[in-house]
């Protein structure tokens, strides 16, 4: 293979792995967006904080998978609690009030992470073996593991939302809370579940990205921006578009960085993509426009 093609293949594969993470963050954003119609700005900081918690557990000698399970469960509880204590009493309040809560959460989790765990860069271990996979060593074992975990999580969520009674009730509660109540659905509970789910998804993303980028209180800041771009590409109203959106953003970011604009401008490219999508196709590449005859 010629060197250019080799670099191309390498960048595409690396883009798949990081794109999978963006897809997870996008999914977390979309889950909250569907019920609140706002972007949860604190999603990244919540994920970072969860990753700190996982790190602390690992430092305390807890085995990796147990620490991961505790972290994901803990994130779920905290997410559900945030909805029950902060968002639920504010139901029906002005948009700015709810946005203020999101920004407040962002600041709180950011400061808490810094205060409890310091601002230094920390090495976070990977559960996957070090080194590369395959004959040409294009993709690290951690990258392959990341892809596998993200695909598994997406598959489980897809099956749960598509085929279970609870998943259907959660979708209904997000689509039209009042109509859902008239079906006997406990909407508050469903929305709290959604918040817990989003926090758990964020925690998984944080634990998967931390071995690649080092752990510090700002870890997820840029990841969240990529995730936001991914959510818009896939369609902010469309959970099924989050992962494809993440892959598209991840791969194009890597290719642009390698061949066109250089690595320094990768984040700018993601922001540009966000603006372009909002201008040209606000419903996203995979977003469905609402069909409604009257």
């Amino acid at each position: 293979m010629t060197p250019v093609i080799e670099v191309f293949a390498q960048q595409v594969l690396a883009g798949l792995a990081s794109g999978a993470i963006y897809g997870l963050m996008a999914l977390a954003l979309v889950v909250i967006y569907q019920s609140t119609h706002h972007i949860n700005f604190a999603q990244g900081e919540m994920a970072t904080f969860s990753t700190f918690a996982a790190w602390a557990l690992l430092e305390a000698g807890v085995p990796y998978w147990a620490a991961a399970a505790f972290t994901i469960a803990g994130a779920f509880a905290v997410g559900a609690l945030i909805h029950a204590t902060l968002l639920r009493p504010l139901a029906g309040s002005p948009v700015l009030t709810q946005i203020a809560v999101f920004i407040g959460l962002l600041l709180i989790f950011h400061a808490l992470g810094g205060a409890l765990f310091d601002h230094t860069l920390r090495v976070f271990p990977s559960s996957f073996p070090a080194g590369a996979v395959g004959p040409n060593a294009y993709l690290s074992a951690h990258g392959v593991g990341t892809l596998a975990v993200v695909l598994l999580v997406s598959l489980i969520l897809f099956l749960a939302f598509r085929f279970t009674r609870l998943g259907l009730a959660m979708r209904a509660a997000a689509l039209d809370p009042e109509a859902a109540r008239l079906m006997g659905i406990r909407v508050d509970r469903m929305l709290a579940l959604g918040w817990g789910l989003a926090a758990s998804i964020g925690a998984i993303a944080g634990v998967l990205i931390a071995p690649v980028v080092f752990l510090d209180p700002n870890m997820m800041t840029s990841i969240l921006l990529y995730g936001f771009a991914a959510a818009l590409v896939g369609g902010i109203d469309n959970p099924w578009g989050a992962l494809p959106g993440g892959i598209i953003v991840g791969v194009s970011e890597n290719l642009l960085g390698a061949f066109v604009i250089g690595t320094e401008f990768k984040l700018s490219a993601a922001l540009l993509l966000t603006v372009l999508i909002l201008l040209v196709r606000p419903q996203g590449l995979f977003g469905r426009r609402l069909v409604n005859r009257v």
């Binding site: 689509l175 109509a179 079906m183 409604n292």
Partner: protein
Amino acid sequence: MDTRDLWASTAWTVLGNRASSAPSALEVQSLVVRRDSIAVIHGLGFSVERGETLLLLGVNGAGKTTLLRALSGLIAASGVIRLAGQRIDGLRAEDRVAAGLMQVPDTRGLFHTLSLEDNLRLGAHARGDRAAIAADLDRVWKRFPKLHERRRQQAGTLSGGEQQMLAIGRALMARPLVLMIDEPSAGLAPQAIGTIQDLLLAIREELGVALLIAEQLSGGVSAGVDRVMHLDSGRVAFLGSPDDPGCRHLPSQDLMRRCDP
């Protein structure tokens, strides 16, 4: 529970003799609804029996929708509401559904981006009996073969009349004891209104559901009505049989026509 047993034994068949000692399906006493501390429903009292259709008439703003929303628990109200003898006024809206009270709102409340089938399944959310739910789903599809052909499509793609049928079919999936429908004829062509009319008659005859139907004074459903309740500024102006001479002395010409069909 009473409701469930009733359905289990007589589901989708003609309901037999109504024992006179049995409590009303829906009983309302001194219901008051306030909006910004001003009463908009002034101490209403009425009841609906099993297998009975009560037509709630009134002009826009008379309080029909407010009354239905207060009964279903979407807005706060004071007073006593009994469902088959059991008080439900302390329950939240989602728990009143489980008790057997179902409302089809004036917006129909369909989930437009979900499939027809998912919409119907959501109607049975408060129930736990999987096998019976599947059987009821089949019955609804049999009743609406045209909806069955399109069961995987988004509910928003249906015409207005089809949406109303789906909304009513979905409410039946809850096996309600009392079904309240807010303006089933709103925005529908006369032909579609006829179809809805036939459907409501069939529900009353076959399922023994107590029907509380709100309509404007003119147009809308009229056949098969057992009693008429005329609501005027949140008060009962008339409550009785459509054949009752009092019904004809109501102000509206349209209403007079409907009192004596």
